[in-house]
Amino acid sequence: MRDFPLIFEQSVSGRRGFGLPDPDVPARPLEELVPQQALRRRPPALPEVSELDVVRHYTRLSHRNFSIDEGFYPLGSCTMKYNPKLHEEVARLPGFARLHPYTPEELAQGALQLLWELGEELRELAGMDAVTFQPAAGAHGELVGLLVIRAYFASRGEKRTRVIVPDSAHGTNPATAAMVGYEVVTVRSDARGNLDLVALEEHLDERTAAVMLTNPNTLGLFEEQVDRIAERVHAAGAQMYLDGANFNAMVGITRPGDQGFDVMHMNLHKTFSTPHGGGGPGAGVVAVKSHLEPFLPVPVVVREGDRYRLDFDRPQSVGRVRAFYGNFANLVRAYAYLRTVGAEGLRAVAEHAVLHANYLRVRLAPYYEIPYDRICKHEFVASGVRQKRRDGVTTRDIAKRLLDYGFHAPTVYFPLIVEEAIMIEPTETESLQTLDAFVDAMVAIDRECQEDPEKVRTAPHTTAVGRLDEVRAARSPDLRWKPA
């Protein structure tokens, strides 16, 4: 079979896909405008294709992509819920999409009001006192959170050098701590899948700046002792950071601010349904308690009477982490979502996300090992160890075989503390019939593991390409097409 062509391989010299105007100003020689040596010598080898070529190429590529719009996407920790079409339409209104970031504030009142109102809603959901919209993603929010904590301690003349993370944490937590110059201390989880309180206390001291927790944690389990953890952390003078990736499990049920967290980020592209776009853009709003507010990045949206403005005059601010104000279009989508769903709806979101996850957990338990088999929150972690020992089939094989059944695979090999981990998050927007179809596929694959393991080991069989050689890709990197 022929390789699927690159856009460059369809290029024909002289072909065009645009309709630009002719110059309507006097045609002075270019050399009078810029020095000859500043001009480009060799044109870029971009494809020369017609508009129809481009439309067909990217439409065909889209057919080689799996999406929520196409099917079930139980990717744990990623909250792949339905992304409402209404919110796309709202985000594309010219009043938002065509608004220049340096439009004077008095002419951008609608945008600023939207941010203010969104901030009010998110503060209430989080049980926090202030927000910043600047972070472009969850990890960017973590960066802001730790910078804020660092500035807070600096303002008190305290030099704290360590950040504690559980062994079940997302990789972004330790990576962020390192970016802010902190030493990372990893603490183990206990037999119930919670953070080990005794181990935590061993490490907590006057060097500790923050403890970064995910709640529910990456095993999908609520940190049952979160109030006691917060007590100990605060007694040691440290701050509580919440990685809000799993906020979907608790909106309206319990608030991070009430759990004792001082700062958190929320992934609007998870809990608040903004589309993930094949890897981004996201939006990682950070919410803090009042003692951390002076340190938030500039600018902050403020209301004065019925006017809204951007406040840049914040002498204790950590500065900026990006240009302008945040991933605004995603903030519009998230606000549209909040207004559509409302208070009761959000609570129902958490309840159904948890209901659906527990349903899948119980239905899959006869076939797959569930290392922490108790009531879970919005997701749970299964394991492929049984299939690996019994049939010599790995979790990776099972994940690839699921693709043949028309499902995206769960998150695999994470969290790192579960062998052959299969992390499943169904979300509240999937129907019982979809959940049952997924169970049927998982059960069928378990049977295949026993009856025809080779079929599973060599999966996928029905996809655009077969299993890809990742080792080769890393060993001799080919990161761009080169003209012949």
Binding site: M1, D3, G17, L20, A27, L39, R40, P44, L46, Y58, N65, F66, S67, D69, N83, L86, V90, G95, F96, R98, H100, Y102, Q109, G110, A111, E124, L125, A136, A139, L147, A175, A178, G260, N267, G277, G279, G280, R320, F324, N327, F328, T340, G342, A343, G345, L346, H352, V354, N358, A399, L432, P460, V465, L468, D469, E470, D478, L479, R480, W481
Partner: protein, 457 residues
């Protein structure tokens, strides 16, 4: 409930199967002390038409670029975006996909990213580009950290003609790591290369090209100066379309390029989402932040694409990763790929040339107006600084009444530049708009003179 398909009967069935009596039992592990025992205090939920009406009304209160003729740029540009771009990018298959972790069913996203990486390399004259960063400013912050890691040195020298917000971000990213940032003054709008501030501790020199004032910098000269001191040259850029016409930084000796990709097919969006571009030399690829897509083969020998060199990244390397970045701006990178495919080599040159010629026309016309001056002599691309006879803030306000967003008053970023306006012209502006703009500027200054008895305010 909106977007929850589960019926009450189905809910009861699931609860029974789980072996609990109520949904409340599913939350028994949440300590009572942290439970929220009251309804959330949120604004009331709206029906779908009400959401559209309410947010539509908010959108209507904004003076967007179809209402005011836009002469402001400064890091966000009103280029023409062919409708094909977002009709393709907005397809649910791209829009509602996650990061391409399961490569076999994500060849669309992965191949498009590989094509994007190639196009960015071609446009910037560089060897390798990643799958995207958050925006140009944060890409610059990451580039500085990368330079520190590559050189094992701890100082970054940055031109004051780099976008002020980019410089703020640069400080935020470098300060916690003990990297010292030294600013170089601009002289008449550019930063003349000189080894004065460079020494054995300099990890990188950062210049923007074309710079914040729209002026062209001597990138080649800076490359020589930086390399002479054993440092790297980092070039920032807020509109890569300049390199449809200008020699790209990669060909002029830049080691790392941190650019804003918004101008490549992405909407203004009140500042985001935009597209962070980072590109570098092949030899530095293992210190690069962010995702990379590489070509490989499947088990039948067919070409395919995967995320690769992931041992640089946080999910593998944790605290030793090159960056904490995970989610990036994939959809905006896809838009850039579609945009650059539509334009091709002739298109990017034509857009750049139109921008340059139109900006030059407006620059000459404004310079002829009484009381207006061009403070900088250096050649410019599509943006220029003009000294105005009234404070620039007041002039911008006056021009709003005439239907123009006149530019960015520079007083907010530079002391002593309260009477300076940064004006941008893209291919979407017409001669007729520019002529009316010039007349409006003249009127606004005449009125300003009359208003205060002949004194220019």
């Amino acid at each position: 409930m909106r977007y929850i398909p589960t019926t009450p009967e189905e809910r009861e069935y699931m609860l029974r199967l789980i072996g609990v009596r109520s949904v409340e039992d599913l939350f028994a592990d949440v300590p009572d002390s942290v439970r929220l025992r009251r309804p959330l205090r949120l604004r009331p939920a709206l029906s779908d038409p009400e959401v559209l009406r309410y947010l539509g009304a908010l959108a209507n209160r904004n003076a967007h670029a179809d209402r005011l003729t836009c002469f402001v740029g400064a890091g966000a540009y009103d280029h023409f975006v062919p409708p094909a771009v977002w009709q393709l990018v907005g397809r649910g298959e791209f829009l509602t996909a996650y990061t391409p972790y399961q490569a076999e069913i994500m060849q669309g996203e992965l191949q498009a990213t590989y094509e994007y990486q190639t196009m960015v390399c071609e446009l910037l004259g560089m060897e390798v580009a990643n799958a995207s960063m958050y925006d140009g400013a944060s890409a610059l912050g990451e580039a500085a950290v990368m330079a520190r890691d590559l050189t094992k040195r701890d100082r970054v020298v940055v031109s004051r003609a780099v976008h002020p917000e980019y410089r703020q971000v640069l400080r935020t990213y470098t300060e916690p790591l003990g990297i010292r940032v030294v600013e170089l003054p601009h002289e008449a709008g550019t930063t003349p290369p000189g080894p004065r501030e460079l020494n054995g501790r300099t990890a990188a020199v950062v210049v923007q090209h074309p710079n914040f004032f729209g002026c062209l910098e001597d990138v080649r000269g800076w490359a020589e100066a930086a390399h002479g001191a054993g440092a790297l040259l980092v070039v920032a850029c807020s509109d890569p379309l300049a390199f449809g016409l200008l020699e790209p930084p990669g060909a002029l000796g830049a080691d790392i390029i941190a650019a804003e990709g918004q101008p490549l097919g992405n909407p203004l969006n009140f500042g985001g989402p935009y597209l962070g571009i980072i590109a570098t030399r092949q030899e530095f690829v293992r210190r690069m932040p962010g995702r990379l897509v590489g070509a490989t083969v499947d088990r039948h020998g067919r070409r395919g694409f995967v995320l690769t060199l992931q041992t640089r990244e946080q999910h593998i390397r944790r605290e030793k990763a090159t960056s904490n970045i995970c989610t990036n701006e994939a959809l905006n990178a896809l838009a850039a790929a579609v945009y650059l495919s539509l334009l091709g080599p002739q298109g990017v040159r034509q857009v750049a040339e139109l921008c340059l010629r139109k900006a030059d026309y407006l620059k000459s016309r404004v310079a002829e107006l009484p009381g207006f001056q061009l403070p900088f002599r250096a050649p410019t691309f599509h943006e220029f600084v003009v000294r105005t006879p009234r404070p620039a803030e007041a002039l911008v306000r006056a021009l709003i009444r005439e239907g123009f967003l006149a530019g960015l008053p520079l007083g907010r970023f530079y002391r002593g530049m309260r009477d300076c306006l940064l004006v941008a012209v893209t291919e979407t502006r017409t001669r007729e708009e520019m002529d009316r703009f010039v007349e409006a500027l003249e009127r606004a200054c005449r009125r300003g003179r009359q208003a205060v008895g002949g004194r220019v305010l």
